[in-house]
C-alpha cells in the first residue's frame, strides 16, 4: 500500500505537469520547443520563490523528471555552490549540478548518430 501511495503521487505530479504542457500546445500556438523553454525557466523561478521545493517533496521524480525539474536542479545547484564557494558559485553551481544529464545527452546523441538513420514510418 505504501509503495502504491508512493508511486501514486509521482504519477499524479508528473502527469499534471505534462498535461499543462499539452493544454498549452493545443490551446495556444506555442510550439513544443517554446513549451520546454518556458517550463525550464519557470522551474528556475519557482525554485527561487520556494514554490517548487514542496512540489518535489510531494511528487519526487514526478517533479524532477519533467524539464521544469531541470530548472529546479539548476537553481538548487547554484544555491548550494554559493553557500559553499561564495560569489563564484553563481556561475559554477547550475551547470555543475546538471552536468551529468547534459553530458549524457550530448554523448548519446553523438553515438546514436554513428549508427542510426532518420526514416519515416
Amino acid at each position: 500500500m505504501d509503495i502504491l501511495l508512493n508511486y501514486g503521487t509521482v504519477f499524479l505530479t508528473g502527469g499534471i505537469i505534462c498535461s499543462i504542457g499539452q493544454i498549452l500546445v493545443d490551446k495556444t500556438k506555442l510550439s513544443p520547443a517554446r513549451i520546454l523553454t518556458l517550463f525550464v525557466t519557470l522551474g528556475v523561478i519557482f525554485t527561487f520563490l520556494g514554490i517548487y521545493e514542496p512540489i518535489v517533496e510531494f511528487g519526487k521524480c514526478g517533479a524532477t523528471v519533467p524539464i521544469s525539474g531541470f530548472g529546479y536542479s539548476l537553481f538548487k545547484g547554484t544555491v548550494k555552490a554559493i553557500n559553499e564557494r561564495g560569489f563564484i558559485g553563481i556561475f559554477t553551481g547550475g551547470i555543475t549540478a546538471t552536468a551529468g544529464g547534459v553530458a549524457a545527452a550530448i554523448v548519446f546523441g553523438f553515438l546514436a548518430s554513428l549508427f542510426a538513420k532518420p526514416t519515416i514510418k
Binding site: 504542457g21 493544454i23 493545443d26 520546454l36 524539464i67 536542479s73 554559493i82 560569489f87 558559485g89 544529464g101
Partner: protein, 152 residues
C-alpha cells in the same frame, strides 16, 4: 490589393476558426498525463533502486536522469521515439526524455552535412534555448540570491 475578394483579414480569420478542425484536446491531455506520469514513475523506480543500493541522494538522481536520457536516445535512434511522441505529445517531450530526444534527433538528422558543421553545429538546434534560458535565469536569480543572503 485583393481586388475581387470582399473579405477582410479578420473576417477570414473568424471563418478559419469556425471551420478548422480542433485538436482532440481531451484525448491528447489524457495520453500526455498517462505517458508523462509513467515516465516519472519509471524514474522514481530507478531512483529507489539506487537509494536501496546505498548510493547517496544526489548521485541517485543523476543516475536516474542519465538512465532516462539513455533510454530516450536509444528509442530515438531505433526510430521509435517519434511514434511515442506522436501518441503522447508533451507526455513524452516534457520529461527529460524529450530533452534527450531533442538533442539526439537533430544529431542523427544532420549527420548528412558532416560531423562538424552538420552533427556538431545542429545538435542543439531544438534543445539550445532550454539551456540558454535555463542557465541564464539560474545565474541571474543566483545573483539575486547572493545579494539577499550575503550582501544585505
Amino acid at each position: 490589393m485583393n481586388t475581387n475578394l470582399n473579405i477582410s483579414n479578420s473576417e477570414y480569420d473568424d471563418l478559419i476558426s469556425q471551420k478548422a478542425q480542433k485538436s482532440p484536446i481531451l484525448r491528447n491531455v489524457i495520453a500526455a498525463f498517462i505517458v508523462g506520469g509513467l515516465i516519472c514513475v519509471l524514474g522514481q523506480f530507478i531512483n529507489n533502486k539506487m537509494l536501496n543500493l546505498g548510493i547517496d541522494k544526489e548521485t541517485a538522481s543523476t543516475i536516474t536522469s542519465i538512465s532516462l536520457i539513455f533510454l530516450a536516445a536509444l528509442l530515438t535512434s531505433l526510430n521509435l521515439f517519434s511514434r511515442i511522441g506522436r501518441f503522447a505529445g508533451t507526455g513524452a517531450t516534457v520529461p527529460i526524455t524529450g530533452f534527450s530526444n531533442s538533442i539526439v534527433a537533430p544529431a542523427i538528422e544532420y549527420k548528412s552535412e558532416g560531423y562538424i558543421l552538420g552533427l556538431g553545429a545542429n545538435m542543439f538546434k531544438v534543445a539550445g534555448p532550454v539551456l540558454v534560458y535555463g542557465i541564464s535565469t539560474s545565474v541571474i536569480l543566483g545573483f539575486v540570491y547572493y545579494l539577499l543572503n550575503y550582501v544585505f
